[in-house]
């Protein structure tokens, strides 16, 4: 499904040292997620977790300096962010962006139809969209009146993350990246979001879950856990690796690798 090989990326920076205008964050990251699997990436602050999610999604302030990313054989790095979305990549943002003046239903309609159009599919009409929206909202326990509100404006932390899962459910991507979905959530909200994600697990869909803490992985069981440090995967293992990490802390693993 998704194959990342020796990925290197820089981020532009303002506080340049020695005349450098960018810093290398990803230093040769390799990762292979087969179809239907859920992989988790854990790592300390500054290890490159969020950079990885932005680089995969194609954010412009990141410069890829080496390596490759392929989704079902297609070179993602060659594509614009919207083309990556159409190819099946979905990023659930750590901080979903507020968009004043654009209400949820307009946003979802525009998004779904933009993706369908890129894929050469017919656009959904208003009625079909409304039905889809209602069904998905009901599944996720989202009240209909949220559809009239501006995207993420005034949403609570839980509502924002549920909204990300709603979009994921509606856009039916092949590959989902969840960037610290657990941040800012209480246990109840975390369960709702995790249930939403679990409902989307499918033999044809893969997930990459980026997190600081093991807690989220109690609810979304990963097949493989990777530890990211200094821009590289330093260790991979089964779900038990997350528990071990929680017990020992990152320092031990990072030390081991160095």
């Amino acid at each position: 499904m998704i194959t990342i090989k020796d990925l290197k990326a820089n981020v532009e920076t303002d506080d340049a040292k020695d005349g450098e205008t960018s810093i290398e964050i990803l230093k040769g990251l390799s990762l292979d997620i087969p179809e239907g699997e859920v992989h988790a990436i854990m790592g300390p602050n500054g290890s490159g977790k969020s950079t990885l999610s932005y680089v995969l999604a194609g954010r412009e302030d990141y410069e890829v300096t080496g390596g490759s990313v392929k989704l079902d054989g297609e070179d993602l790095l060659e594509l614009d962010p919207e083309e990556r979305a159409a190819a099946g990549l979905f990023l659930a943002f750590q901080y979903p962006v507020e968009i004043p003046g654009v209400n949820m239903s307009t946003f979802l309609k525009t998004s779904i139809n933009a993706i369908r159009k890129q894929r050469g599919e017919d656009e959904l009409d208003a009625l079909a969209l409304l039905k889809l929206m209602k069904a998905k909202c009901a599944e996720l326990g989202i009240k209909d009146d949220m559809m009239k509100r501006a995207v993420n404006v005034g949403f609570s932390g839980g509502e924002k993350k549920r909204n990300e899962v709603l979009q994921m459910a509606m856009l039916e991507p092949k590959f989902c990246v969840l960037d610290e979905t657990d941040s800012g959530l209480d246990i109840d909200a975390l369960k709702v979001v995790a249930d939403g994600v679990n409902a989307l697990r499918d033999p044809k869909r893969s997930f990459l879950i980026i997190t600081h803490y093991q807690r989220l992985l109690d609810y979304i069981k990963p097949d493989v856990v990777h530890i990211l440090a200094n821009g590289q995967i330093i260790k991979s293992g089964g779900p038990e690796l997350a528990l071990e990490l929680e017990k020992k802390g990152y320092a031990e693993f990072v030390g081991e690798a160095a």
Partner: protein, 319 residues
């Protein structure tokens, strides 16, 4: 009562309130001077509720100098919606005065749609008085003219009155649009709102000067002012001067002013959800405008305005 501008005594940028707007330089050379103002009177007597909006059109032709004098009087407990349309052909100077009097507990919705010709100059001095519990709800769409100056002086004279000035400026080419507002709170417990959004394309130049003056007697004043400008081109320019002058000690006043480009964060978010860059830009800029148009009470007028603004956006954002 405001004084009309005189051609032999025009304000220059040396006058503080005119420092961003050079009127003498913009006036057409071959003006045929008007001899008398043209008066338009709209009057609602006590308790009369206007069910339909009253529409007025001000036009002018090439080389004309017109001096419209609009008088709107809404007596106590009356209510009216006025739609004022500005249009014309060729190069002209519309030198307009608007005199608006709102009586006790009376209400005026005032929609102004300015689609003056490309070579037009329009100066519009508006004077408003609001009595006790009066409501003035103004919306101005400014997109016409080579140079326009919409200058409002509002005097809130009675307790409990509420005045709102909302506006959208859509300027392109070398257009110059100036909105200058002075609100005087002369009575306690009154509310004033200013909410303007400006889109500037090409080499357009926008000006927003807004001042809230709270007199000592005007305790419990609630004054709010916000001007946001979006620059769609590197050559566009915005001058903003927000001011508060407060002499009462128990008031709530705020002002904010921003000038900038579209934020990258929402653009990226929308593109991650499949929208092309052009589509994402359009949606965000449209939302920026719509939030002000939303303040217009009548939905049918809102729709008409959105149709006009969307057409402008389609041209302006064409890559």
């Amino acid at each position: 009562m405001p004084e009309a501008l005189q051609i032999n005594n025009l304000p220059t940028p040396k006058v503080e309130e005119w420092k961003f707007t050079n009127l003498p330089r913009a006036l057409p050379a071959n003006l045929v001077l008007a001899d008398a103002p043209q008066e338009v009177v709209i009057h609602k007597t006590s308790g009369q509720i206007g069910k339909k909006p009253e529409e007025i059109v001000f036009t002018a032709g090439d080389n004309e100098h017109t001096q419209p004098h609009l008088k709107i009087t809404i007596e106590e407990n009356a209510e009216l919606t006025v739609i004022e349309r500005q249009s014309g052909e060729g190069a002209y100077w519309k030198n307009m005065i608007s005199e608006i009097t709102i009586g006790q507990n009376a209400k005026l919705h005032h929609i102004r749609i300015n689609q003056d010709s490309d070579d037009a100059v329009q100066t519009n001095l508006v004077h408003i008085t609001a009595a006790r519990d009066a409501v003035y709800n103004g919306f101005s769409l400014n997109m016409g003219g080579k140079l326009t100056r919409h200058e409002i002086h509002a005097e809130i004279q009675g307790q409990g009155a509420e005045v709102s000035f909302n506006g959208v400026n859509l300027l392109s080419g070398s257009q110059h649009g100036d909105t200058t507002i002075l609100i005087e709170h002369q009575a306690p417990n009154c509310v004033s709102n200013q909410f303007y959004r400006t889109l500037l394309n090409d080499k357009a130049h926008g000006v927003f000067q807004g001042k809230v003056h709270v007199h000592q007697i005007a305790q419990k004043t609630d004054g709010y002012q916000l001007s946001n400008a979006l620059l769609l081109s590197p050559d566009a320019e915005m001058d903003t001067k927000p001011e508060l002058e407060i002499y009462a000690d128990d008031v709530k006043c705020s002002h904010g002013a921003t000038t900038g480009q579209l934020d990258e964060e929402p653009l990226f978010y929308l593109r991650q959800r499949g929208l092309s860059e052009a589509q994402a830009r359009f949606l965000l800029v449209q939302a920026f405008v719509d939030e002000v148009v939303d303040k217009v009470e009548s939905e049918s007028i809102q729709e008409e305005i959105l149709e006009i603004t969307n057409k402008w956006l389609e041209t302006a954002l064409k890559a």
